[in-house]
């Protein structure tokens, strides 16, 4: 009986007066390092601003699609992507500004704003969701990183992060496990877990080649875990970083211009 009381008292004391490390101070250096690496990874294709030409191949059980597109970005919040081919969708443009997504549809000559309900919908028929566009390069803001592995894997020195969503972050993933090369912090593989902590999709990076003055992965491939035979592959054809782009460039009126 008295043992139970003591245990209970200890428990209460621990709850009321947390002894030792408070979350802010834990492994300060390690978290800082994790954050810093993550920031570099996030900026891999973006810099302060970017201009790129990409091809996207989507393979599903029902169709295979090849698209070519041109994209611009500035900072973390502004992205504009315009479809170059196929002809049917040429001129279709997507603008991400802050947390809003607008789509310009040349066939109807209308611009629509996507609602939050559409965020998990497929972007351009690919395995990327609209939410991916909004969340892109926000990992550092929305997730609490920690280094979960450091060492050799498949003959390469890698660092593995586990990213847990911050309590107030409106994110769809339960956690993300990201592996980057220890040398140059190049992303290798990301595992996205759903809220039930089951792997939902895998993103693999490849073809480490010269791109915008540095070795970078040129290919990004997303494979949904429930349909392993399907994928979306994004290939960078061209990339320019840190170019000058005006804020007005990322406006709804500029969406229409071809």
């Amino acid at each position: 009986m008295s043992r139970i009381l003591i245990t209970a008292a200890l428990l209460i004391i621990t709850l009321i007066f947390p002894i030792g490390r408070s979350p802010g101070e834990t492994d300060d250096a390690s978290v800082k390092k994790a954050r810093e690496i993550l920031r570099q990874v996030d900026d891999m294709w973006r810099g302060t601003s970017s201009h790129s030409i990409l091809t996207m191949q989507v393979r599903t059980a029902h169709y295979t699609r090849d698209m070519r597109m041109e994209g611009w970005s500035k900072g973390k919040d502004e992205t504009l992507v315009r479809i170059l081919s196929p002809l049917k969708e040429k001129g279709t443009a997507t603008l991400k500004s802050g947390s809003d997504i607008y789509s310009y549809l040349p066939k109807t000559d209308r611009t629509i704003k996507l609602t939050s309900g559409m965020m998990m919908g497929s972007w351009m028929g690919s395995h990327f969701t609209n939410d991916d566009l909004v969340r892109e390069s926000r990992m550092e803001e929305d997730y609490e990183p920690s280094i979960s592995y450091e060492g050799k894997r498949d003959g390469q020195d890698v660092i593995e992060f586990t990213l847990i969503p911050k309590p107030d972050a409106a994110v769809v993933w339960g956690k993300i496990v990201a592996t980057v090369l220890a040398d140059g912090y190049m992303p290798v593989k990301y595992y996205y877990y759903d809220e039930d902590m089951k792997i939902s999709r895998t993103m693999t990076f490849g073809r480490f080649e010269m791109l915008a003055g540095k070795i970078r992965p040129k290919v990004m491939r997303v494979v949904p875990s429930d349909k392993p035979e399907e994928y979306t592959e994004l290939v960078y054809e061209e990339l320019e970083l840190n170019i000058s782009l005006k804020d007005e460039f990322f406006s709804i009126s500029n969406l229409k211009r071809i």
Partner: protein
């Protein structure tokens, strides 16, 4: 016969009390008849909204479609199945479903796109006549769409306004086009009201690049009196390899609610009548007690206990019969009035629904033999149970004691 005439004389002896008792019973009966017919009206309207506006009696889908509705899970030979069903006397219509986003101005909302075969849909459902504003789809106007009322409100569109649909076509490309709102539907159910976007089959196929197949075949029995389960089985036989379910299986919640309505009605009746029973018990007990001497003399003159009991029951019967008549006359006439002049709930119950089925904003009564008979029959049963005690009391009177009773 003699008992009945004595009873009627007794009933009118204290006519004020008789009046109060009878009117109270009649009023309770009247309320119950009105309540029953209003409930029936609500249920009939809900079932009609569920079945005749949307579901149909029976639906056929690809076996895994309902779990995960997907553009590719189609019934491959819908026209053949529809024809077979028609040959067997059923009404049948194929339907196409897709998902996407409807936008107008700066607002947008997720929608369920419904491709409708106009030539057969009106055989199965009455949705074409369930229009709040504007008109139903027209083959000659392929860009005209009909939408649910809540969707119209969300998008802020009315008839004649334009609406952009964006979704993913079957080939993975972006399906998008401009349509004109041709009509806005009356309330059907949560799903249709919030997300329903109806267009003609041809436009759907062009938009979603789905040249063949259908996602659903809705079937109606030729006659609503035919057994639903047997009809479902017969329809299933004509669509081998597909999932055939009737609306009770598709929407078990609604079916349960409708089934439970009758027992709910009886519970309501019993609760209300218990109060009435107290009143009757009290009145009859008083008539027995104030006549103890008289009853004692009757007994002394050779009236049997059974006859005395019968006397009390006869007195009760006269009052209940009068009350029943009152209840039927007033209940039926008011219910009849509400059958033709519904109660307008739209101001405070706008868009109410249960189990996903919309409740009509105009609440009409629906008189069925049951909604009259159940309250009246229960009025008799409960009153008779209540007077059991006074009747037995009267029957067991001892003449000598009774005559000296003061």
């Amino acid at each position: 016969m003699k008992i009945l005439s004595i009873a009627s004389r007794n009933v009118f002896r204290n006519w004020r009390r008789t009046m109060v008792t009878t009117v109270a019973m009649g009023f309770a009966g009247f309320i119950m008849i009105l309540f029953a017919s209003l409930m029936q009206g609500l249920l009939q309207a809900s079932e009609r909204n569920a079945v005749s506006m949307d579901l149909g009696d029976i639906q056929i889908h690809s076996s895994d479609y309902r779990e995960d509705p997907d553009l590719y899970k189609v019934i491959e030979n819908p026209d053949r199945i529809v024809n077979d069903l028609k040959k067997s006397g059923f009404h049948a219509a194929k339907r196409l479903y897709g998902f996407g986003l409807a936008a107008s101005g700066s607002t947008s909302s997720g929608v369920q796109l419904r491709g409708i075969d106009l030539s057969t849909e009106s055989d199965v459902t009455e949705i074409n006549r369930h229009i709040l504003k504007g008109s139903w789809l027209d083959e000659g106007d392929p860009k005209g769409v009909v939408i649910g009322r809540k969707l119209a409100r969300t998008l802020g569109v009315s008839t004649g306004d334009e609406l952009v649909f964006v979704g993913q076509a079957a080939d993975g490309s972006m399906a998008n086009d401009i349509y004109t709102v041709k009509g806005i539907l009356k309330s059907v159910g949560e799903e249709v009201d919030r997300t329903g976007l109806y267009m003609v089959e041809k436009s759907f196929r062009e938009l979603m690049i789905l040249p063949e197949g259908a996602h659903e075949i809705a079937v109606m029995r030729p006659d609503r009196t035919m057994d639903l389960d047997a009809s479902t089985e017969r329809a299933a036989g004509l669509a081998p390899g597909y999932e055939t379910l009737n609306w009770r299986e598709l929407k078990p919640v609604i079916a349960r609610i409708l089934d439970l309505a009758d027992s709910q009605m009886i519970i309501m009746v019993i609760i209300t009548y218990t109060a009435v029973a107290m009143l009757v018990l009290n009145a009859m007990l008083m008539t027995v007690f104030e006549r103890i001497r008289e009853l004692g003399i009757m007994k002394a003159m050779g009236v049997t206990p059974w006859q005395l009991m019968l006397l009390v029951y006869a007195e009760t019967f006269i009052q209940v019969a009068a009350a029943g008549l009152l209840a039927v006359l007033s209940g039926v006439s008011l219910s009849h009035y509400f059958e033709h002049n519904g109660i307008d709930l739209s101001s405070f119950a706008e868009g109410a629904s249960f189990g996903g089925v919309a409740i009509d904003p105009i609440w009409r009564a629906y008189l069925t033999p049951g909604s009259v008979a159940v309250p009246v029959i229960f009025l008799f049963i409960i009153s008779f149970l209540a007077v059991l005690y006074p009747a037995v009391k009267a029957a067991l009177i001892q003449p000598v004691k009774a005559i000296h009773h003061r």
